[in-house]
């Protein structure tokens, strides 16, 4: 699975950042237009997959020194945690709430606990997809 293609490598270097930017846009846009935690997470994961397809595993792991299992665990923790968070405030499990903020230059924006939940979903998706891909890719030992 090693592709020695200079053009591909060069293009991928740029494309990955475009994809990641898109992913972050999709993630935040999710509440109003297409996007959201699942899609954001999947797009991020696909960017990483592209990196793995283009470069060596070692090289990518040097660039992104993240244990994806922990990312997945953190994601699940966030998703379940927001549920219990609302219980602490006396509301039902997984009640979401939102608050309007005025951010300079961007205008009125709404920020809600649903963002934390979505972040949890996104992190889980990234973590799990990457764990699966990386495990399989590494797993040709015997």
């Amino acid at each position: 699975m090693r592709i020695n293609d200079v053009i591909l490598r060069t293009v991928v270097r740029f494309v990955v950042f475009i994809i990641l930017t898109l992913a972050i846009y999709l993630f935040f846009a999710g509440h109003y237009s297409p996007g959201g935690g699942f899609i954001g997470g999947l797009v991020i994961a696909s960017a990483f997959v592209l990196l793995y397809l283009t470069f060596d595993i070692e090289k990518v792991q040097q660039g992104i020194p993240v244990d994806f299992k922990k990312v997945a665990a953190l994601g699940v923790f966030l998703a379940v945690g927001t549920g219990f968070g609302s219980v602490l405030f006396g509301a039902d499990f997984l009640t979401q709430t939102a608050q309007k903020f005025h951010i300079p230059l961007l205008g009125d924006k709404e920020l809600g606990t649903v963002m934390i939940f979505e972040l949890g979903v996104a992190l889980t998706v990234v973590g799990v997809v990457m764990t699966i891909i990386v495990s399989i890719a590494e797993g040709d030992g015997d």
Partner: protein, 801 residues
């Protein structure tokens, strides 16, 4: 509230036992455990004056009110008797066990199970709600199982535990069915509410089935013939357990249920006949078999079976009071129930003492086999005293409490023989005869217990130990019980007034006043038939004991393959064989077969339902318009799908799968589902990568080795399933019988502050689903990771390539 506490407290203690065990390693934890029964006993004892004045106590804690299942406790005379027995005997047994069990045993397990049982048993007798009663009932079976198997390294323990569990739980399930039938009839789970409407239930079609089911539960639990076979095997449990569960309390749960439900079922004569006859057979069979036993505990087990049968038959006779007018004749029959309750208490005292006595002998002499025991009278005088008093009480001799209740039993038996209210009066003439014969055998085995153990020579005893009297701690409990054996004989009417009288009102609500139904118990009631019968028992019993060696042979006349135990084992092993044979028929461990079952069932059941109900519909009226490019796309996907069947390369097949996936994402765009389109696009890419990655490790496709017939079958099934899906989908397509719920979600902005409806559903309306999905995703990830990595660690270390 008090009663709720009494039930919960032992259970709570059971939960705390592991921590106490860890915290106090120096002290025997039995001393802590003792707290539970003593507390409960004191709590209950303080309520005796209230109950004996005819009051009752009810307290409801709502549990599942929508199903009519509430944790309602009901304290009346009947439950008071059992409550006192459970806590009182419980306290004595725990005290005894402190000295009986060595600290090397798994004491934390033992006491945990014992407390669990205690709480469950209290729950059984105090619950007014049948469902709650059933739950506690099964909990007693489970804790009994755990206690019998306490020495789980022994084969016999495990076998005994399994047998008792199988029999009692089977009966328990029958009882559950009976309770549900009762609920269907009365629309309540409350026992008191059921009893209130009892006279009108007799005509109901479910009345007899419900009665039989409930009786099955009671008979299995109380070891009635032919379900008694589990009790002798249960003697593998440690002796304190045998004394507590298998003679004083748990086996009396069936008696409790029969007594409790008498005012509900007694309106039909079937109840009287069933309970009395089963009781009498058990009484005879138990005493008859006890004589041939050589293990002291097995002997006591059969004697328990027999005594339980005695109590049961008395309750049966007592139920006849519901069929006569309220006058003197009714009182005759209520006296039978009185005798039943009286004997219940007496039995717990003398049988508890006898079990503890056997425990002492086993503990000190190292054997319970009467062929080896002998001559212990001089070595263990205290134990000998216990044995003599317990046995004589059991044999029904004065001056012990067994005499009183045995005489009352004879009285009731004689009354039933003369009963003219029954059309089949001649049959009941046998009752006193059976009662008398059983008493003779009872006398014989009581002689065996005392004489074979304590008289004769000590030659055959195990010689490897120095036998001496038991330590004082082990003697306290049996002596307390023996004290009651004598005290009750001299002051029976104290017990009758304070404890038994209120219980009579529970069995016969509204039939007569408490005073009318409580006879004055006399030790000396003249030179009447009952006394002559007792004298006859002693005489014949003595003669038969002396000639035991001569007539012992009749026990061998029944061939081994006709014994109940053999039948039970046979049924069990045959059941296993048949089920394993049947299972092997369809569990072929071929994935294809399993999939075939699913598909065939799908076709037969779904297709069959639609054909039978003529539910196929087809209409194109409301269809959306079609564009040419959509037709092309559909065509392309269909071709890709069909081509997957024929391609010989797995990479091509995967790519074709990708074609279908991307086609679907285009449809998601066409069908106005942007989120789906995006997700599908990315997932399809990642899935394809995944497939290709895995192919590096998997072998290339070889042509399918399946036979032609197999392939044809597969093709037919596939076509059928596809056609069925098409037909069913077309039929439900424009199904408009239900109102759509989707319009609710269009308020997404007001309700969830988001404008992307799909996303608000995922993140807010149905966030719980999403949360669980995330968890599932994580589990799948962990699964993949471990499947790959664990092998690595087991194999060699070259996992870094």
């Amino acid at each position: 509230m008090t009663i709720h506490f009494a039930i919960i407290f032992p259970l709570l203690m059971a939960a705390l036992i592991p921590f106490i065990y860890k915290a106090f390693t120096k002290v025997k934890i039995g001393w802590f455990v003792l707290l539970a029964p003593v507390t409960v006993f004191i709590l209950l004892a303080r309520l005796i004056p209230l109950i004996s004045s005819g009051e009752t106590q009810t307290h409801t804690y709502e549990w599942i009110p929508s199903l009519g299942i509430n944790f309602t406790t009901y304290l009346d005379g009947l439950s008071m008797i059992f409550g006192l027995l459970i806590s009182g005997v419980g306290a004595l047994v725990v005290l005894y066990s402190i000295f009986y069990l060595s600290t090397k045993e798994a004491l934390h397990n033992f006491y945990c199970y014992l407390l669990l049982f205690m709480g469950a048993m209290l729950g059984v007798v105090f619950s007014d709600n049948l469902m709650v009663l059933y739950a506690f009932w099964e909990l007693t079976s489970v804790s009994s199982f755990l206690l019998i198997a306490f020495w789980h390294h022994r084969r016999a323990s495990k076998a005994g535990a399994r047998k008792s569990m199988l029999i009692t739980v089977t009966g328990g399930i029958a009882m559950l069915a009976g309770f549900i039938m009762l609920h269907a009839m009365t629309d309540t789970f409350s026992i008191r509410a059921m009893i209130a409407q009892a006279p009108s239930l007799v005509e109901h079609t479910l009345f007899i089935p419900a009665m039989i089911c409930v009786l099955l539960g009671a008979f299995t639990k109380s070891a009635q013939f032919p379900f008694h076979i589990w009790l002798p095997d249960a003697m593998e449990a440690p002796t304190p357990v045998s004394a507590y569960l298998h003679s004083a309390t748990m086996v009396k749960a069936g008696i409790y249920v029969v007594a409790r439900l008498t005012p509900l079922f007694a309106y039909d004569l079937t109840w009287f006949w069933t309970v009395m006859i089963v009781g009498l057979i058990t009484l005879f069979w138990g005493s008859f078999n006890a004589v041939k036993q050589t293990d002291l505990k097995a002997l006591l087990a059969f004697s328990t079976v027999s005594q339980l049968g005695l109590i049961m038959s008395l309750l049966g006779i007592g139920s006849l009071a519901f069929h006569v007018d309220i006058d003197a004749t009714a009182i005759i029959y209520t006296q039978a129930a009185f005798a039943a309750l009286f004997h219940l208490i007496n039995h717990s005292t003398f049988k508890g003492a006898l079990f503890m006595m056997v425990g002492i002998i086993d503990h000190e002499a190292g054997t319970r086999d009467i062929r080896r025991l002998g001559g212990l009278m001089t070595i263990m005088p205290a134990t000998f005293t216990i044995a003599v008093i317990g046995s004589m009480s059991m044999a029904g001799l004065p001056p012990f409490n067994g005499f009183l209740s045995k005489e009352m039993f004879f009285t009731s038996a004689l009354h039933i023989a003369e009963a003219d209210v029954l059309s089949r009066a001649s049959a009941t003439a046998l009752v006193p005869v059976i009662a008398w014969i059983a008493s003779v055998f009872t006398f014989i085995y009581c002689m065996i217990i005392v004489v074979k153990t304590f008289f004769g020579t000590t030659e055959k005893l195990p010689q490897d130990r120095k036998i001496h009297e038991a330590p004082l701690g082990m003697l306290i409990s049996p002596f307390v019980l023996v004290f009651f054996v004598i005290a009750i004989f001299f002051f029976p009417n104290v017990l009758a007034t304070y404890i038994l009288a209120p219980a009579m009102v529970s069995i016969y609500p509204g039939l007569a006043s408490m005073q009318e139904m409580t006879p004055h118990v006399y030790a000396w009631h003249g030179f009447n038939t009952e006394l002559i019968m007792t004298l006859g028992v002693v005489l014949l019993g003595f003669v038969l004991y002396r000639t035991l060696a001569v007539w012992r042979r009749i026990y061998n006349t029944l061939p081994a393959q006709f014994t109940l135990n053999h039948v039970f084992n046979r049924v069990l092993s045959e059941g296993e064989n048949v089920s394993s044979f049947v299972t092997k028929l369809y569990m072929t461990s071929s994935l294809r077969h399993y999939s075939l079952y699913i598909y065939v069932f799908l076709i037969v059941i779904i297709g069959g339902y639609f054909i039978v109900n003529d539910a196929f519909r087809f209409s194109m009226a409301n269809n959306a318009e079609i564009h040419v490019y959509e037709v092309l796309l559909v065509f392309m996907m269909a071709v890709a799908a069909v081509a997957m069947l024929f391609v010989q390369s797995r990479v091509t097949a995967t790519v074709l799968n990708g074609v279908i996936g991307f086609g679907i994402s285009i449809f998601f765009v066409i069908f106005r589902a942007p989120d789906l389109a995006l997700t599908q696009l990315i997932v399809e890419s990642v899935t394809t990568v995944l497939f290709l990655l895995c192919f590096t490790y998997l072998p290339a496709w070889k042509p399918e080795k399946s036979s032609r017939r197999e392939k044809t079958t597969n093709a037919f099934i596939a076509l059928f399933v596809g056609a069925l899906v098409v037909l069913v989908s077309l039929s439900v397509l424009h199904f408009n019988e239900f109102k759509t719920i989707s319009s609710f979600f269009e308020n997404a902005y007001e309700l969830a502050g988001g404008k992307n409806i799909v996303n608000t559903i995922l993140g807010d309306f149905r966030a719980f689903d999403t949360m669980l999905e995330v968890v599932v995703l994580c589990i799948a990830g962990i699964g993949v990771y471990t499947m790959i990595k664990f092998r690595m660690r087991k194999g060699d270390d070259r996992h870094e390539n």
